[in-house]
């Protein structure tokens, strides 16, 4: 089971990508982690592309549009909404493997399994307010342009408020991760990233006024409720993708402190399968 320990592993080919991928698929002990990490990277890029470029629902439009303007808004991005969100629906399930990878990072820490499990369930539910409800509602809005404009506006409100106003999952999720990192003695993540989780959690609080204001900095498209929040989230996401990659490079499949990158063993020590479960 530990191919590298058996000593008959061909060297990793250089150059042509498919052969390298095939090599990793066959011999890389960390392939499960790399599958998770690449899913995260591809997904976040795709998510940005679909929401910002294809569906053009981000940055969000004004909450104060009149019903007629809302109909126009749906009309302007008819195809983008219908096809963009269809792709979101196909790849949306990928969040499962992403969250599993992040939950694994918590399992690798010296903390209780409760952290990994809470994180897993919280973020499994986060896909609904995070994209799926908005996708369904925008699809319904776009599919019948002749619908009563007042109802179109109801769908418009539903879409953006479900997306921006339901931050509890991200708030608690960040706090769970923060606590796990601060308590961890295995050095899986640097402590500063634990504190960065707190910054992220605090900006999730700041979105709440989107329920109250229809214009200004606190509305769902506002400078504070959207732009600053999104800026922090992007910084946070880039940080954890980088740190997760480092974690996978350092991973030794043990249960003690994670070795440093410079001292990380090239080969994983053979561990029994039971220990890995």
């Amino acid at each position: 089971m530990n191919a590298s320990a058996m000593g008959n592993v061909p060297a990793e080919p250089s150059g042509w990508h498919f052969r390298r991928i095939a090599w990793h698929w066959r011999y890389d002990e960390k392939r499960e982690l790399w599958i998770g990490w690449w899913t995260l990277v591809v997904f976040y890029n795709l998510y940005g592309l679909l929401f910002f470029v294809v569906a053009r629902t981000q940055p969000p439009p004004e909450p104060s549009l009149s019903p007629a303007e809302v109909v126009q808004w749906f009309d302007d991005r008819h195809r983008g909404l219908l096809y963009g969100y269809a792709v979101v629906f196909i790849v949306g399930g990928a969040t499962a493997i992403m969250n599993a990878t992040l939950a694994y990072s918590m399992r690798r820490m010296s903390v209780s399994r409760a952290f990994a499990y809470s994180y897993l369930v919280i973020y499994a539910l986060a896909t609904l307010p995070g994209m799926l409800i908005m996708g369904v509602v925008c699809t319904v809005g776009a599919m019948r342009p002749e619908r009563d404009p007042e109802l179109m506006r109801w769908l418009y409100d539903f879409a953006f408020l479900s997306f921006e106003g339901t931050m509890g999952v991200f708030l608690i999720g960040s706090l769970v991760w923060m606590l796990a990192i601060l308590l961890d003695e295995n050095g899986v993540f640097p402590k500063w990233f634990g504190y960065l989780n707190l910054c992220n959690a605090l900006t999730e609080v700041v979105v709440a006024p989107a329920w109250i204001f229809k214009s200004g900095p606190f509305a769902w498209n506002g400078a504070i409720a959207w732009w600053i929040n999104m800026g922090v989230f992007v910084a946070y996401t880039i940080a954890f993708l980088t740190l997760l990659r480092k974690m996978i490079l350092r991973e030794d499949f043990g249960s003690g402190p994670l070795p440093d990158l410079s001292t990380a063993p090239a080969l994983a020590p053979p561990v029994s399968l039971k220990a890995a479960r």
Partner: protein, 238 residues
């Protein structure tokens, strides 16, 4: 009592839940000839107001409301089998748990929209039509978690490199085929007629048959895997 006894019991609930699902499916008047997205608001309202349809809509959806999550224990059994595979990390079993939480929640939302439409059918037809749209789009297009669980299971099986893998490779191939068959349904909102529309061949018939087939096939291979696990456990204790 052995641990696997409970698992066999859970697996045994699947035929029961399956029969209830089938009954609810047939009971709903808008499924056997799936309602067309091209119906006008008045036609949709008339569908819900029809005294023949209304009780059937309500009772079928109440049944779905009760038993929609009946699928979760089966996914839990899949998780346990994945944990027996020769992996270095629990990532795949975690990922199936995440799918188990997300998928049924979305199905419940579709169920909720249908029941809302049926609760006051005398409402403005435009409203009834909107709830009907929300229900159908949620029901049809939300294949993401189903696709994900098939793909993740397939990956887990391919990477289960031991002498006697938990599932045979064909189960992985089968899961990938199912994932491919589910994919077109995501575009349900993009067409009002044709195979992609929510009453179309691909979105309605292929998708639902694929889900049904997946349940039957997975029940059989799960049953075999649990049986083998019991034999192994017994051999280990004696």
């Amino acid at each position: 009592m052995r641990r696997t006894d409970g698992e066999v019991l859970l697996l045994g609930t699947l035929p029961v839940v399956g029969v209830i699902w089938l009954a609810a499916f047939l009971l709903f008047p808008g499924f056997v000839h799936p309602m067309s997205p091209t119906m006008s608001a008045e036609e949709v309202a008339a569908f819900y107001r029809d005294p023949e349809n209304l009780p059937r809509i309500r009772y079928s959806m109440i049944l779905f409301n009760w038993f929609a999550v009946g699928f979760i224990p089966i996914l839990a059994l899949v998780v346990l089998q994945i944990r027996r595979m020769a992996h270095r990390t629990p990532i795949f079993s975690y990922a199936i748990i995440a799918c188990a939480a997300g998928g049924p929640t979305i199905f419940l939302m579709a169920n909720l929209f249908w029941l809302l439409a049926a609760f006051r059918p005398m409402r403005d037809p435009q409203l009834t039509q909107m709830f009907n749209d929300l229900a159908w789009v949620t029901f049809s297009s939300q294949v993401g978690f189903l696709i994900a669980q098939s793909v993740i299971l397939a990956l887990a099986i391919y990477l289960d490199r031991q002498e006697r893998p938990v599932f045979r490779p064909w189960v992985a191939h089968f899961n990938l085929v199912v994932a491919a068959l589910l994919t077109p349904a995501a575009f349900a909102g993009a067409a009002m007629t044709g195979p992609i529309a929510w009453d179309g061949l691909l979105t309605f018939w292929v998708r639902n048959v694929a889900i049904g087939l997946w349940i039957v096939v997975m029940a059989v291979v799960l049953g075999q895997a649990i049986k083998r696990q019991r034999a192994d456990d017994e051999a280990a204790t004696t």
